[in-house]
């Protein structure tokens, strides 16, 4: 099986602490992977380091190449609080940004780009909102617009930073179904996620981290009380046995 991501002893240092400690793993194509861990575990930092957006030590190969050579194949959805929602762009303008990697600098966006934008908005159920300013939407709708932008990019690798934070149930369902669809097309999806509920239903694999890698593998193999409590170090309480885990977080 072809490896889409190869990470070897990746570390990120901040002034006087280490946000990511010596993480190594290899991920395969066509998987939906949750990056899970408590607050401050370095989940966002890890994906930024993989994408070369954060000064890091260690080796990273993306799609078998250096990340700088495959950037057009990478789609990234930021945390919602990173965005200025008063920015003067409409829903369709945001989704069109996903097409920018495909349009040469001397050309305007074409008919095909517009078709892809509309198709992507349809997929997330936001077509009727295309002329709205992005600040006028609910949190879940905003997140769906950003998913549509990622879809419009026609990338091979998707990185989503906490896409399920503060959104409604309908949006969450639409998004997770789309991510599964993307995965079934043979693409790879990484999702930073801090909430343990539903982790079992959502992901194929889990990358459990708390600054260092605790465990990486199939959900059914790593979603175990001992591994979870090692990851969360006492910030959660676990009930039940291996087959049936109930998590109470603080």
């Amino acid at each position: 099986m072809k490896k889409v991501i190869e990470v070897e002893s990746l570390s990120v240092f901040y002034e006087n602490n280490q946000a990511v400690k010596d993480i190594s793993f290899q991920a395969e194509k066509g998987r939906l992977i949750g990056i899970v861990g408590p607050n401050g575990a370095g989940k966002s930092t890890l994906i930024k380091a993989i994408l070369g957006l954060e000064k890091a030590q260690g080796k990273v190969r993306v799609l078998g190449e250096k990340v700088n050579d495959v950037r057009k194949q990478i789609s990234y959805v930021p945390q919602r609080n990173q965005i200025d929602w008063d920015f003067p762009v409409l829903v369709e303008d945001v989704v069109m940004m996903g097409r920018f990697t495909h349009i040469p600098w001397y050309k305007k966006a074409g008919k095909k780009d517009l078709e892809i934008v509309i198709e992507s908005l349809e997929k997330v159920g936001m077509l009727e909102y295309r002329k709205r300013q992005i600040g006028e939407l609910s949190g879940g709708q905003q997140q769906r617009v950003f998913i549509a932008r990622a879809l419009a990019q026609h990338a091979d690798l998707f990185f989503l930073d906490e896409p399920f934070v503060g959104i409604d149930v309908t949006s969450e369902e639409i998004i997770i179904n789309l991510l599964r669809e993307i995965k079934n097309e043979g693409k790879t999806v990484f999702v930073v996620h801090h909430d343990l509920s539903k982790v079992e239903q959502y992901f194929d694999e889990l990358l459990l981290i708390n600054k260092e890698l605790v465990e990486y593998g199939e959900v059914k193999n790593v979603y175990k009380p001992d591994i979870l409590s090692k990851t969360y170090k006492g910030s959660i309480t676990l009930f039940g046995n291996d087959e049936n885990i109930m998590v109470v977080s603080e």
Binding site: P88, F100, T101, I103
Partner: protein
């Protein structure tokens, strides 16, 4: 009404007034366009900084006898680089780095200028503009800069938009965000140079921020905001020149005041964002 005909009459009659008016209109357009990006990036202070930082460049260029526009561009960009260097290589935050570097550059310019006493560089004119002294060659420089700036904005519109709206996504998909930042700083320095005679170093920040902010209150689309901002810049230029000619007051400051009045109108009465319009709408909803 007779004032307006008098103004038109004077403009028709005196070529220096025509040049002044054309220069002011061009400055209104390019400041308005660049200003939109400055506002959306939360860089108003940076705009102020770069505009002040061109002062030593202007003076040094005068001393060694090269075009002041080269000197100004160099010190403007150098200051932008220095600000980035200080904030990235120490615990000093961006706004403090800006405060330190631009005042240093500005002070250097003032020291140089006072050392050059009697040489014809007029500090007052550089600081506050003297639009009536716009020469033909000044106008040519302004036209050249204006064309270059607008061309760069058109070519780099998408990278500028993306790196302003979502810098992390921009970087992740391969937009050279840092380079875009310095390109914007270069354009900012050029715009300041172009505005030197019209509004001067101290007031150029108003032409960068105020028309853009006015437009920001009136639209939800960036292309429209850019157009409106340029339009308000032009209205301010013409209105300011009018008051300056008719009432014989400082032109740069008049231009800025007209821009400020436009902002005030939008702030209170913008259909969607206006303070008074919103209150009025809320009342209507309550009654219904």
């Amino acid at each position: 009404m007779s004032n307006i005909t008098m103004f038109i009459d004077q403009v028709m009659r005196y070529s220096y007034l025509q040049q002044a008016l054309i220069a002011a209109i061009l400055v209104g357009i390019i400041c308005g366009v660049i200003g939109c990006f400055i506002i959306l990036r939360g860089m108003a202070l940076m705009g102020d900084a770069i505009s002040h930082a061109v002062l030593p460049g202007v003076v040094i260029a005068y001393m060694i006898g090269v075009s002041f526009f080269i000197g100004a561009t160099i010190t403007g960009v150098l200051t932008a680089l220095a600000i980035g260097y200080v904030s990235q290589n120490s615990r000093i935050k961006d706004d403090s780095a800006i405060g330190i570097m631009f005042t240093a550059a500005f002070a250097l310019g003032i020291v140089l200028i006072t050392g050059l006493r009697g040489t014809g560089v007029d500090l007052w004119h550089i600081l506050f503009g003297n639009v009536l002294a716009v020469s033909r060659s000044d106008l040519m420089v302004t036209v050249g800069i204006g064309a270059f700036v607008l061309l760069m904005i058109i070519i780099f519109y998408r990278p500028l938009l993306l790196s302003t709206f979502d810098p992390v996504m921009a970087k992740a998909t391969g937009v050279p965000v840092q380079l875009v930042h310095y390109l914007l700083m270069l354009l900012l320095s050029l715009v300041t140079v172009a505005s030197l005679k019209t509004v001067g170093i101290v007031l150029v920040v108003a032409m960068l921020i105020t028309p853009g902010a006015t437009a920001y209150l009136l639209t939800d689309r960036l292309p429209v905001m850019l157009g409106l901002s340029a339009l308000f810049g032009v209205i301010a230029a013409i209105g300011g020149m009018y008051y300056s000619v008719i009432y014989d007051v400082a032109s740069g400051a008049s231009i800025v005041l007209v821009a400020s009045v436009l902002f005030g109108l939008a702030f209170f009465f913008s259909p969607k964002q206006g303070v008074i319009t919103r209150k009025w709408r809320a009342k209507k909803v309550q009654r219904a």
